[in-house]
Structures are given as C-alpha cells and as structure tokens.
Amino acid sequence: MTEKNVVTAIHDTLHDEMAADDRVVVLGEDIATRGGVFRVTQGFLDEFGEQRVIDTPLAEGGIIGIAVGMALHGLLPVAEIEFADFIHPAYDQMVSEVSRMRYRSNGDFGLPMVVRAPWGGGVHGALYHSQSIEATYGHIPGIKVVVPGTPYDASGMLRAAIKDPDPVLFLEHKRTYRLIKGDVPDEPFEVPIGKADVKREGEDLTAIAYGLALHLCLEAAARLQAEQGVSVEVVDVRTISPLDKETILTSVVKTGKALVVYEDNRTYGAGAEIAATIAEEALFDLDAPVSRMGGPDVPAMGFATNLEHAFMPNADTVAERMLELARF
C-alpha cells in the first residue's frame, strides 16, 4: 500500500497499464509534451513514445472520433478531454458513434475505449471549467459512466475501464485530484464498474453521493455523529451508468431515509434518477420523503469566490440537510 492523492493514483495506474499492454495508447490536448494540464500523463511521452502518447489538435470531436477508429482496429485508446466542459463538440461522436457502435452493428463491432475528463467545481473554474456532465451521458445507453471519488477507486476503476470491452466515460472530479488522499495497493487490482460502495455505515439516514459531494457527506456525517449523535450511512455511487440500485436500495431500506447530494444542476440531474428509483422501489420502507440536494438551476457557477460558494454544496449545508432529515 502507498498513500497517494487521486491524480497520482490515476497517473500511476495509466502508466502501469501502458507498460503492461502495448495496445493502450493515450491521446488528447497537451497530454504529450506538456504531460497534461493536470499532469496525469507526465513523463509518458519519454517512456512510451509518440506513437502511443499523442498530442492532438484542439478538436474534441476529432479526439473521440480518432479514438473510435483506433478502438475499431485493435487498440485500447484512452482519450483525454482536457476539461469535461469541452466535451460538447464531441457530443455527436459520443452519442451517434461511441454509444451505438455495438448496438447498431448487432454486436458485430465493439469499442473498448476510455474517455477521461476532469469535471466539477470548487477550483475557480467558473462557467466553462466546472461543469458536471454525468447526467448527460448517464442518459445514453451504450456508454458506461463512472465517477470514482477516492484514490483507491480511481485506480481500480480506471484499470477496469481500460479492460472493459465497452466505452467508459471516466470522470475525475478535479477538486479531489490533490485534496483527497488514501491508500492504494501496489499490485494491480480492479474495482468493478457498476458497483456502489458504502463508505460509512450508519443507522438514521442514508446519504447518497459521488465525486466531491461524497467527501462533503463524509465530513458532515462525522460531524453529526460527534456533535448530535446522528448516525449517517454514506453510499458512494461510483458508477452513474449502469446504476447499482441494489446497494442504494439496501441502505435506504435499512435506514428509512434518503438524501441524495449532487453538484450538478438539480433539475434532471443524476440525483433525480436516484431519487426516483428510491421513490419507486422503496416507498414503503421510507420514514420521510426522499430528499434531494443539487446545484441551483442556473447555467453554471460564477468565477467570484462567493458566487462559486453559493453554487457548490459544502459540509455545513449538507450537515444542515442531514439534520433536517434525521429529525423528520
């Protein structure tokens, strides 16, 4: 075991997978000479060469489309979109091509590819370096969408994503990159895609979250336990699609109360689907209405510190909502 932050865990895992399998190639903007704006691919160019570490032109649709071609012809491309906010020009490739290649060819073709994208706010990224895109792609069958929140999960899920025969959108919350540290095994391991994880056990209510919001929930839960004696179970969704309903429902049935916390705009966010699932499948086990906490329905967060804070959830606001629900 070695203690690492999230970005180092991703760097090391990607490095090890490239060293282990020469079909793995990486491509994206600024990833070769510069080593990536977040340094995820630092040193890769020198070690693996320009046939496997490819600085692309500034063209997101092209990056994804070229990765599709590589995946169709025997490679395992890991494409980087510099910021999740910039993936929108590639929406056509993602929806019309990536998600449907297997389906439209009746299983003849598959796309073993990974698209990595740093997402989320809390880093003064303003409107175009802070977005949440998980719901947009969670809505598209054929693409798996993962949102690991810890160094352990990021490492294990990235390895699983590279080995997955289907396309995986691998979302890395950029605020967690250097903030969150944890132990990561030194030997290769996988964390299965499609499995949520109970990150903290509790009795009084279940908080369901992912990404940075997971850590806000864990902090709030610890505080409530210490200060109010309220016991909160925290479920880390980890995979947006396909969603692990079982782990979520098992926890909610146990505690009888559910708070879904997500950073994205509240309306039609991924948390809305989770809340609907709970309402549909666990109604008679609930002791309170399903509660949702999402970002305000404005286009995005502002650059000014107080505007960003007004958009983002924090441990105080999360604890407040947990307490409200506990007392319901």
Partner: protein, 315 residues
C-alpha cells in the same frame, strides 16, 4: 469492374421497384455513382484493406465482398442483415468480417474514424490502407475537417474519396462552398487533392491506384474528388423535382458511367454488343434471383431489441 457497376445499377433498379411495391420502405440510390465507386474501390484489397463508406456506396461494399443477397437482407431489415440485423435504415453498411466499418446517419462522423483506423494500422505494422468515402455535402462538417487534418499531420495511410454529385440533398454546391473543387481544400491539410471525372471509371481507378500506392509507401493521404451525378432523388423519400430541372438530370444521364465504360470496352474490342447484353441479362437474373430468398428470410425477434447494448461475451 463493368459487371460490378451493372450489379450496383440493377440492385438500385430492383430496390426502387420493391419500394413501389411497398416491400422496401426506404431506398438510398446509387445510380450515377457506379463509375467513381468501382474505380476507387477496385485498387484496394478485399480482406486486407479497410472500407469506411457512406450510405450511397453500394458498389464499394460489393467490391469489399458483400453480396446482393446481403444487401437485400438490409433493404428488408431482416435478422441476418450483416450490417445491423435490421436495426439501421438500409444502406448503413457494416461487416467486421469484410472490414467494412459500421456507420451512422449523421454526415462525416466516419472521417475521423478512418484516420484513427489508419493510425492503428500503421502502429501495428500493417500495410493496410484505409479508404474513406463521402459526398461533397460531408465536406462542410467539422468532423470532416478534423479527420482530414489529423490524417495530414501524421501522413496516415488513408485515401479520402469525395463523390461530388453537386447536391447535399437539395443544396447546390455554390451554396455549400466558395471554391470550385472540393479537392482545392486538400493543400490546407498538407496533402494532394485530385479532381477526376467520376463518370470515367478508368480515370477514377488510375487516381485511386496512385493514391493507394502513395499511402502504402508511407507518403500520406490523398483527397480524390470524383465529379459525378445521382440520377434519382437523394432517397426514396425525396422529390428532386423541387431543386433540379428534368433537363439537367437528362443531360447528366448522357454521361452515364456504365454507358461510357461500355463504349470503351467495345472500342478496345474487349466486349461486343452481344456479350454486353448477355452480361446484363445474366447479372439481372443473378440479382433478381436473390430478392425472394432475402424477402423470405426471418425478421428480427422483437425480444432482440434489448440485446448488444453492451458486450455479451465472445460469439
């Protein structure tokens, strides 16, 4: 080559007949494009090189190895349709076995795929060349630019073929681009652009052969623009009378690539009128003979709707 052109034409005629009979709800015609397709498809090696076509490329997929029977399976949306098992509209080709890359309906999305395949082929040390076909309408899309640009930067083994029939459905070329030739854009990507008469199958063949040799030698892509015309509407659901005069269509038909090639074959003493007639009769019997079998093939099971969203294990 001539037989493949005739086969494509006869598949078209049969498909429209079946459309009028109510058996084929949707047809994408090829007629008029047979010369540029056969000419540019012929220099590639079936089973070794890769084919990245678009929906009008009946003759391209015939060269790659798809049979008329398989094309009719697609037309009737049958379970054994090799392209999609009846999921996609007809003429949305694909077959991993034949190296024909599955494509969608949005235009030009396959161009970056061709570049990516070419990268992978070179990385794997193959001598594969990728052929990528599209209409001139595709050249307005961002994906076209992005794929062309990447292929040019890295001198990838790919040949881009524009089948310029002068209309993107109804929008005529002068409203699509300010330049005279699509090929004029190629220098902007750092590789040659060549204009050929798309009604002259041998000229298309010669241009493609040069381009394929260039690509295989590691000298990078070529953009071939074949000037052609489509004799039918964009699809069976289009009415081209709203944007093309009948005189223009009739004039274009005077340069029918099949008739032009027949004259050449006769002039050079390769075929005589009798053997040409016999070839048509034989090919028509062959094509039409495959329709009933395809029509009688099984439809997809409704329960198959939910299959192949994700990997289901090796077949």
């Amino acid at each position: 080559m001539y037989r493949t052109m005739v086969t494509a034409r006869l598949i078209d005629e049969a498909s429209f007949r079946l459309n009028r009979q109510g058996k084929a709800p949707f047809v994408v015609p090829v007629s008029g494009h047979e010369g540029c397709q056969v000419g540019t498809g012929w220099p590639l090696r079936p089973g070794q090189d890769m084919w990245v076509p678009y929906y009008r490329d009946v003759a391209i997929v015939l060269i790659a190895g798809m049979t008329p029977y398989e094309i009719f399976l697609g037309l009737f949306a049958k379970a054994e349709d090799p392209s999609s098992g009846g999921r996609q509209m007809p003429s949305h080709w694909g077959s991993r076995r034949l190296g024909i890359i599955s494509h969608s309906s949005p235009i030009a999305t396959q161009v970056p795929h061709a570049a990516g395949i070419a990268w992978a082929a070179r990385y794997r040390g193959e001598d594969t060349v990728v052929g990528c076909w599209f209409g001139e309408g595709a050249t307005s899309e961002g994906a076209w630019h992005e794929g062309m640009n990447f292929a040019g930067i890295h001198k990838l083994p790919v040949v881009f073929v524009c089948e310029n029939n002068r209309y993107a459905i109804s929008v005529a070329q002068p409203l699509q681009m300010a330049v005279q030739n699509v090929a004029d854009r190629a220098p902007g990507y750092g590789f040659p652009g060549v204009v050929v008469d798309g009604n002259d199958v041998l000229a298309c063949y010669a241009a493609m052969k040069t381009a394929v040799e260039r690509a295989r030698a590691g000298d990078g892509p070529t953009l071939i623009e074949a000037k052609t015309y489509r004799y039918f509407p964009h699809t069976s659901d289009d009415d081209d009378r709203s944007y093309r005069t009948r005189e223009e269509v009739e004039e274009a038909k005077q340069k029918d690539p099949i008739a032009v090639f027949a004259e050449t074959l006769k002039d050079r003493g390769i075929l005589d009128p009798a053997s040409i007639d016999a070839l048509w009769t034989e090919t028509k019997a062959n094509v039409d003979g495959q329709i009933d079998q395809a029509w009688n093939a099984a439809d997809p099971e409704p329960s198959s709707l939910r299959r192949h969203v994700y990997f289901e294990g090796d077949a």
